[in-house]
């Protein structure tokens, strides 16, 4: 907070709104530029969470998948706090293909999680 914000607050004046304008604009432009509608983005977000949570246990409440844009380049940014790694059992088993190589087991799994169904 700057001194001016503080004085504004004391005097009950409205806070400067330029940063609000900038943030709102950046968000809306990220969506405009990617041409993704909100439902599609939401679906993608759900599927990304689903895939990631097969491997690690993530904090879905704190997680965030969003579009960010800088210099006319839009990026999909996923910020997914990992609670802990899941033991073994990576991707869904491929029934027809050759047996998949078992990935290395994380060292010293101190806990056992029932596999998600």
């Amino acid at each position: 907070m700057a001194l001016m914000d503080f004085i504004n607050r004391l005097l009950g004046r409205q806070a400067p709104s330029a940063s609000t304008a900038r943030q709102r604009l950046q968000l809306v432009l990220a969506h405009d530029r990617s041409d993704l509608n909100p439902e599609l983005l939401e679906q993608m977000r759900r599927e990304i969470l689903e895939v990631v949570s097969r491997y690690v246990e993530i904090d879905t409440a704190a997680g965030d998948v969003s579009l960010e844009t800088e210099d006319r380049v839009t990026a999909l940014v996923a910020n997914l706090p990992i609670l802990r790694a899941r033991p073994v059992e990576p991707a869904p088993p491929d029934e027809t293909g050759p047996p998949a190589e078992q990935p290395p087991v994380p060292p010293e799994p101190e806990w056992v999680e029932p596999p998600a169904d």
Partner: protein, 272 residues
């Protein structure tokens, strides 16, 4: 398609009312005063206004439409400016024309103008539909006009995307209606906010200026005489930069020095 040394410049914005036509008129006159031969083409067939801002509304006999239809020669449709005879206006046609004009028509007109003039400024209609696409088809480079407001910047961004996909370049930015006081108080998007977001080189900064309204009332662009007001000077500088002069851009919101600016700096420093 065009003669080697003509510059076909689209002046566009996406959003209406941000100052496209005012820029076209002032820039056209300024370039002409700086010794260039200039044609301004009103590509806004729906809502033409360039004639009015240049004070030429009573002298229109033929329009771009007549040139395309072959009912007159280009020379007959061009309206030469009285005080600045190196500037000519090619008026837009009838609004009914809008439905059947094509990008090729606009290219034909631009090519005709490019044979005779060094600068061809194309005043683009608002929006991103056919009118925009027709006008943009005739251009080789573009100036995007915007104001430091969220809606204008958003629309400018759409237009920049379309211009990029059409291969129009360079695309440069004119930031219009700047209010230095509001910017300094962070009540308005700053110059760097807008240039960072749109990622375009800045060609000019034009301050909000009451004299713009006075000049449009009279149909006499600010650049017609030696400009004495902030906006008039800014338009003149845009013209000079367009011709390759290195005129520095001064951000009026950070320009003031001395006690006030030091106080302002203190007031906006983060304290916690």
């Amino acid at each position: 398609m065009t003669s080697a040394n003509a510059r076909l410049i689209l002046i566009c914005s996406g959003k209406g009312g941000v100052g496209k036509t005012t820029l076209t008129a002032n820039l056209g006159i300024a370039l002409a005063r700086q010794g260039e031969s200039v044609a301004v083409l009103d590509a806004d067939f729906g809502l033409r206004n360039l004639d009015l801002l240049l004070g030429l509304e009573n002298r229109i006999i033929y329009t771009a439409q007549d040139v395309l239809a072959g009912t007159c020669r280009l020379e007959q449709a061009l309206v030469r400016h009285k005080q600045q005879p190196t500037l000519s206006l090619l008026p837009a046609g009838n609004p009914r024309m809008l439905e059947w004009i094509t990008p090729d028509d606009m290219r034909r007109i631009a090519a005709l103008l490019a044979e005779q003039f060094r600068f061809v400024l194309i005043d683009c209609p608002a929006g991103i539909e056919d009118g925009f696409r027709n006008a943009a088809a005739a251009a080789e480079e573009a100036i995007v006009v915007t104001t430091p407001e969220v809606s204008a910047v958003r629309d400018a961004d759409r237009v920049i995307g379309l211009l990029n996909s059409m291969g129009v370049k360079p695309v440069q930015l004119v930031l219009n209606r700047v209010r230095p006081e509001m910017m300094a108080n962070q009540e308005m998007l700053s110059v760097t906010d807008v240039t960072d977001i749109l990622a375009l080189p800045l060609l000019g900064l034009v301050q909000e200026d009451k004299q713009v309204i006075v000049s449009t009332n009279k149909g006499e662009p600010l650049t017609l005489g030696e400009p004495s007001t902030p906006a008039g000077c800014a338009y003149q500088n845009v013209a000079r930069r367009l011709r390759g002069d290195a005129v520095p851009i001064v951000d009026p919101s950070t320009e003031r020095r001395g006690l006030r600016s030091r106080l302002r700096k203190l007031m906006t420093t983060r304290i916690f």
